[in-house]
């Protein structure tokens, strides 16, 4: 079964360790990902803020290319990209006029037929069945699974069972031998698109998240969105200013954590690319008790 892959721009830049770790894990489990040839940017929040048609057309181009490539399912690890692609797909499928309008813009047909996988669906359906034989270390520590907005909402797109208290990432971390904590900010917003233009806001929102995770004894925060990761990691200086006492809790991608439990090297998983040292988590590999 071919699995298409849409990295999106962040995974080639600020979030590259996400794709590095994802590929490392996939490779370990002998699963191939087929990148969509000549994919383009999804338009992110800029497009849907400024121009609705553009916010559909940009993802539509990628979807059209995927169809040309004959891909029936596409993995979109980046939460933001997933949101845009899934939303665009929904519009294409539900409105014939929109569909013809867009394929008109693109000068190529587009159906929006391919199934778009979240990183959780990918892990559950393709990695979980084979994972156990590759998991060599218990990633023995308390972790806070942080889902953010775009992997939880809207629920008809993200298909989470408990959109207000998701468990999908927790399941992955349990596989990795960690102990996910029950906390209150799983699906709160980190400030996302305002990262550059209103860093002050991002700092405030992210601070609440880090604070709650730390106050409940989490030793790491695990994410599945490059924007969440960047805000919680790159913005830590600003975040710490917002907190009574700062925190150096590392922020990992779920695939990095899983990779560690599979004995993949920290370098290969891009754990050196973080601003807040990930050493703590690396060190609790195979640790006895939590």
């Amino acid at each position: 079964m071919r699995i298409g892959y849409y990295p999106g721009c962040s995974l080639q830049g600020s979030g590259r360790e996400y794709s590095e770790s994802l590929f490392a894990v996939a490779e370990k489990c002998g699963i191939e990902l087929e990148e969509i040839t000549d994919w383009n940017c999804c338009g992110a929040s800029a497009a849907h803020s400024l121009n609705h048609d553009l916010s559909v057309a940009l993802p539509a181009r990628t979807l059209a290319l995927a169809e040309k490539q004959g891909l029936e399912q596409i993995l979109v690890p980046c939460a933001a990209c997933f949101g845009r692609l899934a939303t665009a797909q929904q519009e294409l499928v539900s409105s014939e006029p929109m569909r013809s309008k867009i394929s008109n813009y693109l000068e190529m047909p587009v159906q929006g037929s391919a199934r778009i996988l979240t990183v959780f669906e990918f892990l559950q359906e393709h990695i979980f069945p084979v994972a156990d034989q590759f998991i060599v270390n218990k990633l023995n520590h308390k972790t806070a699974c942080y889902y953010g907005c775009l992997l939880s909402r809207p629920k008809d797109l993200t298909r989470l069972e408990r959109p207000e208290d998701p468990m999908e990432m927790d399941a992955v971390m349990e596989k990795a031998g960690a102990t996910p904590i029950d906390w209150a900010f799983k699906t709160e917003c980190c400030g996302a698109g305002l990262s550059v233009s209103r860093t002050d806001i991002v700092a405030k929102l992210s601070a609440k998240i880090v604070e709650d995770a730390v106050s409940r004894g989490a030793e790491s925060i695990v994410v599945a969105c490059p924007m969440c990761q960047m805000n919680l990691d790159l913005r830590r200086k600003e975040i710490n200013k917002q907190m009574d006492q700062g925190s150096d809790i590392p922020v990992l991608f779920v695939t990095q954590a899983l990779g560690l439990s599979m004995g993949i090297s920290a370098e290969k998983l891009g754990l050196n690319r973080h601003f807040v040292s990930t050493g703590k988590v690396v060190s609790c590999v195979g640790r006895k008790e939590v």
């Binding site: 408990r162 959109p163 207000e164 208290d165 029950d182 209150a184 709650d212 106050s215």
Partner: protein, 670 residues
């Protein structure tokens, strides 16, 4: 040879203003079979009716057509007149030349012509009328009341006090229903059990009431006045004839960790149990799903050893009893949503986010905390309590668009009770609107705000989460420029939506009554038949029909009782003879019915029965359909369905309808 009389009414000016009534009368007299025709100013007046009676007698009329108003208006009046004159009342037909003609058309020849057409049509119909006689159905003067809550109790007592037999069936081991769980009741704050328990005892002791607790209606057949009901008496495992209710069995029962339904899951009960101290009957039953004797076959048996009367009997089986009743009162009550219904409030994972019924138990003297309001998690007395109105109600996204009606009042009551017991505590109520229409209801809410200093915040709560032992209630005050407010609470009470019981649908299907999309039972008419169902003889009482408070429930229960008592007022009831009949004739034909029973499939009332036609020797000759006149409501769907016209509808027979069509058109319109 038919001799029809035609009587055209002016209705003052109402008809004559636009229709040339004289002309209609004149031309009508020329119609074949018409022996007499006349017009008059007010046919429905006494002189008008006398005119008709005399004409029938004088001209030996076999049938009459009254050209006047809608049959829905005066058909009865003129049928009586015909009867008075000595002809069968069903030989009287109304030609509706007012509502359908004179009032909707201008004065013109067309209008007059139309009036004539209508009259002619009915003349053709009356020629094919047959003598019909009201159907008499015997009545079994025993009522079945389903549900032993306050609705069922009230209905049962009213009917019983009118001197009729009542069979009261209750699903749980005791009557009392939700009302017995309540602490105090709005707007008077009198203790719920204090006013309820006397009624419960009265039911138990009433000579006319047979009480079956721990029992459920299995199935219902028959029809108004003559229902045939099977009731399942679930195995109590206790011989009530021996049991004295001493209670030593449940005191000794080792399985003590079963969530207590009566205390809304906030305490535990034993496997052999009486739901609560004032239960009626006050004798225990064994909950076999949780009793080790049944789960770990034959283990334990302590209760049997301990019982001084030897009343415990593990071998008792479910028993089905059959009863015949004339009327049924449905009072199966309601349920509420629980806190696990709310994702944004934590899917019920916080023990200190509770629902209204749980708070009632906390506030009740007979409750798990003896009436002290303590939070479930650690038994601490909460310093701050937040109440959320409209939890789930008026929430399209959650599939409950309707208002649950009682929450505004009981939330005010809850806040009040809390403040009365904890003067220094803080009580907040998040609300959208305050719906307190009812006798001294709004005054009650004002009291909560003004005298008990409850802080009402207009806005909905978006999220509740736990932090350092506090519940963070994230809301908004829309009366302060939509100010976001987060309240740190120790206890949160959700006024969760009132919903239908989960078995409501199956109950409705057993009774053949209809229900709305929220599974509340449907009344026959929203205004004029609020307690009847569209199945004759079955009435509704209480919250099974829609969310209701106690006064409303009691009122409706008494109304249902009144309807039942009216039904029982005569030894038999009379019904319009507009029913279907399957033709019958002498041997060797017997009937043209071929026994395909398509009619049976389409009949909404199960009125079509299967009759075996046998010869004298008793050999089966054929199966044919037979209509149960008691059940048939006269819709005639079976008639349209019948392949060879073997079934027909009295009053709207094939011959009558055909003659109408012909009469309408066989002469020129204009």
């Amino acid at each position: 040879m038919a001799r029809i009389g035609v009587f055209i009414c002016h209705c003052g000016e109402n008809i004559s203003a636009t229709v040339d009534v004289e002309k209609v009368a004149r031309l009508a007299s020329k119609l074949s079979g018409v022996a007499f025709s006349v017009d008059y100013k007010y046919m429905c007046s006494d002189p008008g009716q006398t005119l008709i009676v005399d004409a029938i007698r004088k001209h030996k009329l076999t049938g009459i057509v009254v050209g006047a108003c809608s049959p829905r208006m005066h058909e009865g009046t003129f049928r009586k007149a015909a009867e008075k004159a000595g002809i069968n009342p069903y030989f009287c037909e109304m030609a509706n030349i007012r509502e359908h003609c004179s009032w909707v058309h201008p004065k013109s020849d067309e209008t007059t012509q139309k009036a004539l057409d209508i009259v002619r049509t009915m003349v053709e119909k009356v020629k094919n009328d047959t003598a019909l006689f009201p159907i008499k159905v015997p009545v079994t003067k025993t009522a079945l009341v389903i549900g032993g809550g306050i609705a069922g109790i009230q209905a049962a007592l009213d009917i019983a006090n009118a001197g009729h037999q009542v069979i009261l069936v209750e699903k749980t081991p005791s009557i009392g229903g939700h009302m017995s769980q309540l602490s105090e009741t709005f707007p008077t704050l009198d203790c719920s059990q204090c006013i309820l328990t006397p009624r419960m005892v009265e039911v138990a002791q009433h000579p006319n009431i047979t009480l079956h607790t721990f029992a459920e209606v299995e199935n219902v057949t028959g029809f108004i006045g003559n229902f045939d009901v099977n009731i399942r008496l679930k195995a109590k495992s206790v011989d009530f004839s021996k049991c004295t209710g001493c209670g030593s069995c449940w005191q000794k029962c080792p399985s003590k960790k079963i969530p207590d339904e009566f205390n809304a899951g906030m305490s535990f009960r034993t496997a052999i149990y009486t739901p609560f101290p004032q239960a009626v009957p006050n004798k225990p039953v064994i909950d076999r799903a949780n009793c080790t004797w049944f789960t770990k076959d034959g283990k334990c048996g302590v209760c049997a050893k301990i019982c001084p009367m030897g009343a415990i009997d593990y071998t008792i089986q479910d028993e089905i009893i059959n009863v015949k009743v004339g009327a049924i009162v449905t009072a199966t009550g309601f349920d509420i949503k629980h806190s696990d219904f709310f994702p944004e409030y934590g899917y019920g994972k916080h023990p200190d986010i509770i629902d209204g019924l749980q708070f009632e138990r906390l506030a009740s003297a007979s409750g798990p905390t003896g009436g002290e309001i303590r939070r479930p998690s650690d038994g601490k007395v909460p310093e701050t309590v937040v109440f959320l109105a409209c939890a789930g109600s008026r929430d399209k996204a959650k599939g409950i668009e309707y208002c649950s009606k009682i929450c505004c009042m009981y939330t005010a009551k809850h806040a009040m009770l809390y403040k009365h017991k904890n003067h220094h505590g803080k009580a907040y109520v998040f609300y959208m609107d305050i719906r307190s229409a009812g006798k001294s209801y709004d005054e009650f809410v004002r009291r909560a705000i003004e005298e008990d200093d409850v802080n009402y915040i207009r806005g909905r709560v978006s999220k509740i989460y736990e932090k350092n032992g506090k519940l963070m209630v994230v809301g908004v005050d829309t009366l302060l420029n939509a100010k976001p407010v987060t309240i740190e609470a120790d206890l949160v009470v959700l006024a969760t939506a009132v919903v239908a019981n989960e078995d409501a649908e199956s109950v409705a299907q057993k009774l053949h009554i209809s229900y709305d999309k929220h599974k509340f039972f449907a009344e026959a008419h929203p205004k004029l038949k609020p307690v009847e169902t569209n199945t004759a003889g079955i009435t509704l009482a209480g919250a099974c029909q829609s969310a209701k408070d106690i006064p409303e429930t009691v009122a409706q229960a008494s109304a249902a009782a009144a309807k039942t008592i009216i039904l029982f007022s005569g030894s038999e009831l009379t019904r319009e003879p507009v029913v279907a009949t399957v033709n019958r004739s002498a041997a060797p034909v017997y009937t043209t019915c071929t026994g395909c029973f398509l009619c049976q499939e389409v009949c909404p009332y199960q009125a079509i029965e299967r009759e075996e036609i046998r010869d004298r020797a008793g050999n089966l000759l054929m199966n044919a359909a037979r209509v149960n006149a008691g059940l048939c409501q006269g819709c005639g769907t079976c008639v349209a369905m019948c392949r060879n016209k073997s079934i027909d509808l009295q009053g709207f027979s094939n011959q009558q309808m055909l003659s109408e069509v012909m009469g309408l058109l066989n002469e020129p319109f204009e």
